[in-house]
Each structure stands twice: as C-alpha cells, then as structure tokens.
C-alpha cells in the first residue's frame, strides 16, 4: 500500500508545487515508485514545474470521470525512473473533484506506487480539503512570515479534524514542517521569523529548511525539479529533507548567515 502524502500550506505562493516536485523526484531517485498528483484543478502548475506540460493528454479529472484510464493519464518522467505525474485539468474547476472519484483514483494508484504526493491548491476549500482528506502524512510548507504561519496553523487544525484518519479514529496524520524561502540575513535583521519562532508557534517536527535561492526560480523556469540541481543550496536542502523524510538523521544546513567574502564586506551592512 502506498503512503499518501499531502503537500499543503493554506497560503498560496509559498512553494507547495516546487516542494511536491522536489520531494517526489527525491523519493523516486531513492528508488521508491512515486506519483505526483496535481489537485490544483483549474490552475495547473505541476506539469510546468516538472517540464512535462507538452505531454499532457488526459488529466486527473478525465480519470475521475472515467473518460480515460489511469495508464493513459499518467505521464512518466524522462529524467527520473519510478516517477510519474498526474496532471490537473486546466479547463475545469474544483467542483469537478468528487470525493468518491478521488478515493477511487488514490486507491488504484496505491496498488502500483510506494508514495502518492498530493499537491494541494492554496486555501481551505474543496480542492485543498480533498487533497488532504486521504493523507497519511502531511508536509506543511510555510514561509517565515506571520500570515503564512497563521494559515499553516489553520491547516494543521483541519488535518487533525477533517481527514479520513480523524473520521475513522485512526492514528493522526503525521505532520512535518518545511520552511521555505528562508533567508538568514533577513532573520538577523528582524524582517523574518526565525526557525525557532515558527517551530514554537506550529509545534510540529521540522522536516527541513529551504533557503531563499535563485536556483528555485531558475529550475521552475526550466521545468526541472530543483532537487535535481545538485550543486544548488536549495537542491541540497531538499535532498536533506527527503533523507529525513525517509528516516535518516541529518543536521539542518543553511540556517546561519554565510561568512562574507570581500564582496560582502564591501557592500554588506
């Protein structure tokens, strides 16, 4: 049986899709059969980030409405073995997602995959609720600023009460925090919340801290999951996060301000 992992945040633009792509690619590289499912119906982005937008024929909604089979809709990633993408529909809206349909597709995927990564839309409406309903694990993507943290807190409350596990009285969804767009420099200046601040408010385990990085934007534009950019700081931070997700104990990096070189001394504060 596959583990169903929802990548969620409440707030938009914090890096859910980037994270889904990176974690999914990382798990697949570690040898686990992984499928990425885009729940953001109407605003599909995951295929862009994964660089497969030109290969989408059938999507998640087609499968839900039994207009196509899963095999027809699943897109195999060309770079990483064991990695598949189920794209969202651009022409429909979230009402096209039905509870039974989602459950049926996830059950079917569970037979073939080790991990199902559900890329949640922003907000706490239907699409987001359905993305998290069947989850076994949740990765809460949060930026180090107050509104993002508050939205994440709200989502954690929903995860604790409105998921299948909560409804069945099963052990709760395992929740882990991924802090993205972290800039130690801005934390030092007091413009951003620190890792400790966010951990204290949300009170969940820290999966990783992804530094603010040009590499993320470059990778998105190129349609490459940033975790495959192995020399970049963000790519390495995602690799560490995947290793931790799989149970490895790794120290957190990129939390401290880097020592300034000559350039930094000349132009830095």
């Amino acid at each position: 049986m596959a583990k169903i992992v929802v990548v969620t945040s409440g707030k938009g633009g914090v890096g859910k899709t980037t994270t889904s792509a990176a974690i999914g690619a990382g798990l697949a590289k570690a040898g686990h059969r992984t499928v990425l499912v885009d729940f953001d119906v109407g605003l599909r982005n995951l295929d862009l980030i994964m660089g497969c937008e030109r290969r989408v024929v059938y999507d998640f909604i087609n499968v839900i409405h039994e207009e196509a089979s899963l095999n027809q809709a699943l897109i195999r990633d060309k770079r990483v073995d064991n990695l598949f993408i189920l794209a969202a529909s651009q022409t429909r809206d979230k009402d096209a997602l039905t509870e039974e349909g989602v459950e049926r597709v996830l059950t079917e995927l569970s037979k073939d995959f080790d991990y199902i990564i559900c890329d949640s839309p922003a907000g706490i409406e239907r699409g987001a609720l359905l993305a998290m309903y069947y989850a076994d694990e949740a990765i809460i993507v949060t930026n180090p600023e107050v509104s993002s943290v508050r939205d994440s807190d709200r989502v954690l409350g929903i995860l604790a009460s409105k998921t299948r596990r909560a409804a069945n009285g099963d052990p709760p969804v395992r929740e882990q925090l991924l802090l993205t767009r972290y800039s130690p420099q801005r934390v030092q200046k007091g413009e951003m919340l620190s890792v400790e601040d966010v951990k204290e408010i949300l009170a969940i385990d820290l999966l990783g801290v992804i530094p603010e990085s040009q590499a993320v934007l470059n990778a998105s534009n190129a349609g490459v999951p940033v975790i495959l950019e192995e020399d970049s700081d963000a790519g390495q931070a995602y690799q560490d996060s995947v290793a931790r997700f799989l149970g490895e104990d790794r120290p957190h990096r990129f939390l401290q301000l880097e020592k300034k070189g000559l350039f930094g001394r000349l132009f830095g504060g």
């Binding site: 508050r150 939205d151 807190d153 709200r154 954690l156 409350g157 929903i158 604790a160 009460s161 409105k162 204290e200 408010i201 009170a203």
Partner: protein, 240 residues
C-alpha cells in the same frame, strides 16, 4: 421451569438533578427573538449545538406570544437547540406548551440560579479533549480557526492556543502553553472565573462578557505568565 422466567426490568424511572440552560424571553416579538438568536448562534455555533433549553416566559407572560409557542419551538429546533419545556406563564401558556409538546416547569425559586457545575464535552471539530469530573483537558494544540468550549466547568489546555483560535469555559481557563488567541471564561455568568496562562499574547480575553483586546494590554505583560480576573466591571490582568 417457572423460575427461569425471572423478569428482567426494561424500564427504570429515576429522579435525577440535571443542569439545564434557561433561555429567558424578554421580548414578545418572534421576529426580534429570531434575529437575536441568529446573532448569538453565529457568534458561537458550537456553544448552542443540541443545547437543551427551558424557555423562561415570566417576562413576557402577559403578552400573546404563547399563541406562537409552537412556532418559537420550531425556530429553536431549526437553530439546533433542543427546547424541553417552559417555565412561568399562566393557563394560556400551559395549554400552548402542552399543544407544542413542551413540558411545564414550576416558576423560578432562586432567581440567582446558583451556577452548578455539570461537565460536558465541547466542540467536535477541535482537538481531542477529555472531559473528566474536574473539567475538560485538551492535550493537542488549539489551532487557528478552532473553538473549544468546556460547558459547565473548567478548561485546561496543556499546549498552546494559537492566534485565531478561541477557547471558552463556564469556569476557569488554564493554558500551559502560550495564549495567542481568544480566551473567554465564565461565559455563562460566573464572575469568579479566571484565566491563567504561561505566556500571554492573547488577542482578546473575557470574563463573563467583560472583555479586553490586545491593544489595551500592558506591553510589560506580553509573553509573561499572567492571571486574569474580573474586578468590578473591568479586567484585572497581572503577572503571576
């Protein structure tokens, strides 16, 4: 064998003391009452869900509201109250109550209505909570958007109450994490109720309806362990 047919009782009648909420009707107009009910329910939907109530009609006994008693009862049910009976009123009211399927309770003896302390569980959408004889204990964090209500007793939160979350109790509220949201103690009239917290960052605190918002708090108390009590008609917030 005749002895094998020992009679197993299928019914028992027992006298029990229960605490019930009394809804005092102070206006004879169904429309006004409905509007006010809607407002209250909107403020705290979980507070009222399936709450058994007795309608105290003493204040409107002379009006002809009794003609609408059945309608009023339906209106309450539609808002998820459970009307069980009326208290007060004359013969007209008793007849109307019988027709509406409501019980008639004797008029109030002690109008102070000594706060009794029956315990019940709160909101089902909130974190898991254990209701004990001593009150309600919540071990999970109370997150933004969640509401916990300890009906009839004290509320103990072992973890934090996040900004955007709301905790209510008929008795005291103890919070062993930080209080970042709203805390309302003594919500059904207990003026002696207090709020205690380990780290005070609340958005709003209230005791028996007397409230204060974060803008009014002293900066020196922010993040401190405090207790909050009612002092006359204002709140006394002081460091522990």
């Amino acid at each position: 064998m005749a002895g094998a047919q020992a009679v197993k009782p299928v019914l028992e009648l027992k006298g029990r003391m229960m605490t019930l909420t009394v809804l005092r009707l102070l206006d004879p107009s169904v429309e006004v009452l409905a509007r006010e009910l809607d407002r209250r329910v909107q403020e705290a939907p979980d507070f009222f869900r399936f709450l058994p109530v007795i309608l105290d009609v003493e204040a409107v006994a002379d009006s002809d509201l009794y003609l609408d008693l059945a309608g009023l009862s339906g209106l309450l049910q539609a808002r998820q109250f459970v009307p069980v009976g009326i208290r007060g009123g004359g013969e007209d009211w008793r007849e109307a109550a019988a027709a509406a399927g409501l019980a008639v309770f004797p008029a109030d003896r002690d109008s102070a209505g000594g706060e009794s302390r029956r315990r019940q569980t709160g909101d089902e959408s909130g974190p898991k909570a254990v209701a004990t004889e001593a009150g309600m204990i919540v071990t999970q964090p109370v997150r933004s958007g969640q509401q916990i209500y300890a009906r009839g007793g004290d509320l103990v939160v072992m973890s934090a109450v996040s900004p955007g979350a709301e905790v209510l109790a008929d008795g005291h509220i103890h919070i062993y994490g930080s209080l970042g949201g709203r805390a309302l103690a003594g919500v059904r009239g207990d003026t002696g109720a207090r709020i205690f917290c380990r780290s005070f960052r609340a958005e709003l605190v209230s005791i028996n309806g007397t409230y204060s918002v974060s803008e009014q708090f002293e900066d020196a108390l922010r993040g401190k362990a405090v207790q909050i009590a009612l002092d006359g008609d204002s709140l006394d917030i002081r460091a522990l």
